[in-house]
């Protein structure tokens, strides 16, 4: 890793973040269920020397399948396919601490890290999804505090198993906690980078605490530069409070792009996509984030103040606190009407840029230099052309400005993201023969 250089990941959200992406893509409708499709996207990203391919996930149907594809294939299988056919690009998978077993997941992810030659990061999420709960027989969905207590213990077990795997002594772990009792060792040794990196993606206070304490990177949702700077500092302060360096945790907000060679062309692309939205879907999305059905409200009146205050009971709030905070702050700072808020929120909580390659490069540079981001999780509107235009038109601009690499220099994702290698030589830790 070189100081002053951006980190750019691509979030391959099936055929694109836009609901109508499946109607605009050059890929067939079944692409979302074909690991080969993800390999094709990874090869485009690797052509642009992007840092990593990121996958969102949850163990239930997220979107109504009449309307659009969801993330479907199990992420470790997608990432193993990508690892099998690429050389450099990092791979980041979202896997839930609520709907996995820590030993099984530690084993599988360390194997994936090994297979990829040390290119994996695990994005830890606690998952809020009632359908997922019903798929795992949960009579009562665990509240946020319970999920984060389980997540903290889950991560502790996984990390202990991974460190034990790198230890020549192989003493095994002995863990007894609220959720798990685990004794022993994984069957394998360490990967080329020791073990996978950790990414965190929740914007709640508990999520930011977990991120500052243990994560190598954070995938965040920011709509507003001021809020972006505040959250950036907050997480880095937590890291310092836990004895880490500020640069040990990278902050990577999502960035949705709709790119045209002129602004008029970009606007046209944006409008053509939005014609495909099912009626009312955008309002429903905003309703979900604010935790109230907005369908009866006047679209041209300001968003009611009572929807914007503190959440009464955060533990019971049935949606993402991070997304909500991001939206509320934007509405308050610009006194938006409901109609305006819906347009700003068209990216479901992530910032949307509609413009030319120069516009996109400018906003990336501005946020990076302002101390709001160490890089971005890119979310093209439609794959593959939304990614291709970024790689072919935006990446060269960022290279010319000295902000982004021209070639891959590091072998492992750990070296690329953190600038350091795993301390195999310390204590009894030894590299696998």
């Amino acid at each position: 890793m070189t100081a002053g250089q951006l980190i750019l990941n691509v979030n391959v959200l099936n055929t694109g973040i836009h609901t109508g992406s499946w109607q605009r893509t050059s890929e067939p409708p079944t692409a979302f269920a074909d690991p080969g499709y993800y390999v094709r996207m990874a090869k485009i990203a690797e052509r642009g020397t992007l840092d990593a391919l990121f996958l969102a996930d949850g163990p239930a149907l997220r979107e109504h399948p009449a309307i659009r594809p969801s993330q479907a294939l199990e992420p470790s299988v997608i990432l193993a396919s990508v690892a099998a056919e690429t050389e450099h690009i990092g791979i980041i998978g979202t896997l839930s601490s609520t709907f996995n077993d820590p030993v099984e997941l530690a084993h599988r992810l360390l194997a994936l890290d090994e297979v990829s030659g040390g290119r994996l990061a695990w994005n830890v999420v606690t998952t809020y999804s009632l359908p997922a709960g019903a798929n795992f027989g949960l009579a009562d969905y665990p509240d946020r505090h319970t999920r984060y207590r389980r997540a903290a213990e889950f991560v502790e077990v996984v990390r202990a198993l991974w460190r034990d795997a790198a230890d020549l002594g192989r003493r095994g772990i002995s863990h007894q906690g609220e959720f798990f009792t685990v004794a022993g060792s994984l069957p394998q040794g360490p990967s080329a980078q020791g073990h996978p990196l950790l990414v965190q993606a929740g914007g709640s206070p508990q999520g930011r605490e977990l991120a500052g304490r243990v994560a190598d990177a954070v995938f965040s949702a920011e709509l507003d530069l001021g809020a972006g700077i505040d959250h950036y500092r907050y997480v880095k302060d937590v890291a310092v409070a836990h004895g880490r360096r500020r640069e040990d945790v990278k902050i990577l907000p999502g960035l949705i792009t709709t790119i045209g060679s002129t602004r008029a062309e970009a606007d046209r692309r944006f409008d053509e996509q939005n014609v495909l939205l099912p009626p009312g879907q955008d309002l429903e999305r905003l309703s979900q984030v604010l935790g109230e059905d907005l369908s009866g409200h006047d679209l041209d009146a300001p968003v009611p103040v009572r929807l914007l205050g503190e959440v009464g009971d955060p533990a019971r709030f049935a949606a993402s606190l991070g997304f909500r905070e991001s939206v509320v702050r934007l509405i308050e700072s610009r006194s938006l009407t409901l109609r305006e808020a819906i347009r700003e929120f068209s990216g479901a909580g992530h910032r949307v840029v509609v413009g030319t390659p120069v516009d996109v490069a400018d906003t990336i540079e501005r946020w990076f230099l302002a101390g709001a981001a160490d890089g971005f999780n890119l979310m093209p509107d439609v794959f593959p052309d939304g990614l291709e235009v970024f790689v072919d038109e935006v990446v060269p601009l960022l290279r010319t400005r000295g902000l982004f690499r021209r070639a891959y220099a590091e072998t492992t994702l750990r070296e690329r993201l953190t600038g350091s290698i795993f301390p195999f030589a310390q204590l009894t830790l030894v590299k696998r023969a």
Partner: protein, 332 residues
């Protein structure tokens, strides 16, 4: 009557250390091994079977579903059978991962359903999700749950109709509503397999064929009684005098194939010696990739092994997962 036996292979260890591989790039070792098996006309590679056996579990170090995925991306006809237990894995996760491997392999994946995973058991003596005792009864529940999930979202329902804006025909998507052993609402969030369901292998101990009723293929150890009237493969743990063993099994009439466990050292003698010799004698099935090529190459593992898609579970009476297409809120 002589039956041309199907040949499956289990390779001790992960395959990452295959000669010709590269320790720093495990993908190459796995791909090399998979292509070697494919070129020799092996019908399928069973990955990770040792996990089910306490004495051999230490040989298996990498997750079988990931090895199968890597192999899938570097082969075109080899079947890839993933060994996995509903031990620390919930059936929803198992169903999803296995069918994802099948999509990576374009209909060439299968599942060897184990009762126990000794590689990752650590101290867990029971199923870590339901707390159930591990054994054939629990495995049968898990197989039934996984099969049900595989059928909840048929691949054909993905129509992607741009003229109507309909992505998938939700009248074909049904709830799983599993209640035996687990409570699983469904549907699975991955569309179904191109080969119907993935074929399932399950070991039968002591001739108790009923314990693997939910499987497509029963596995028995060489020398154990062979169940009658159902597809059965015999596991051979040695290639000594394998020619005469294959001759006897091919004349048995009830044995559909063999599952040969090989160390890396035994690979060459078997693949280059015993297997072609047996094929020449008509004891084992032809090599679809051999010369001359077979004109109609089977597309899926199920087709290659002539395994019909089971009639059960039939989800026709299950509730639809989606009542209607949503249209909430107002139009802008």
């Amino acid at each position: 009557m002589t039956v041309a036996l199907s040949v499956g292979v289990e390779v001790v260890g992960d395959g990452a250390g295959t000669p010709g591989g590269d320790a720093r790039r495990p993908v190459r070792g796995i791909a090399t091994l998979a292509r070697r098996l494919e070129d020799a006309g092996v019908a399928y590679w069973v990955i990770g079977a040792e996990r089910g056996e306490p004495t051999d579990a230490t040989h298996a170090t990498l997750d079988p579903s990931l090895l199968a995925t890597v192999a899938a991306r570097h082969t075109s006809t080899l079947g890839l059978v993933v060994a996995a237990a509903a031990h620390r894995d919930h059936p929803y996760n198992l169903a999803r991962r296995l069918i994802s491997v099948d999509h990576a392999a374009q209909g060439r994946a299968g599942w060897l359903a184990l009762d126990f995973d000794h590689s990752t058991a650590l101290n867990a003596a029971t199923d870590t999700w339901a707390g159930a005792e591990l054994g054939p009864v629990h495995t049968a529940d898990a197989v039934a749950a996984v099969r049900t999930l595989w059928r909840t979202w048929p691949l054909e329902s993905v129509v992607g109709d741009r003229s109507t804006g309909v992505f998938a025909d939700t009248t074909q998507i049904r709830r799983a509503d599993v209640h035996r052993g687990y409570r699983i609402a469904g549907p699975l969030n991955v569309p179904g397999s191109a080969q119907g369901d993935l074929p399932v292998w399950q070991q039968v101990f002591g001739g108790d064929a009923g314990s693997a009723d939910g499987a497509d293929v029963a596995v028995v150890e060489h020398g154990d009684p062979v169940p009658r009237g159902r597809p059965t493969v015999v596991r051979l743990r040695s290639i000594q005098r394998i020619g005469s063993v294959l001759e006897r099994l091919s004349g048995d009439g009830e044995v559909a194939g063999v599952l040969v466990r090989l160390t890396l050292h035994a690979l060459a003698p078997f693949l280059d010696g015993a297997l072609p010799a047996a094929r020449q004698r008509g004891l084992v099935a032809a090599n679809p990739g051999g010369s001359p090529p077979i004109p109609t190459r089977p597309a899926s593992l199920r087709q290659r092994l002539n395994l019909p898609v089971p009639q059960q579970p039939d989800l026709a009476a299950h509730a639809l997962a989606f009542d209607s297409v949503p249209n909430p809120g107002g139009r802008l």
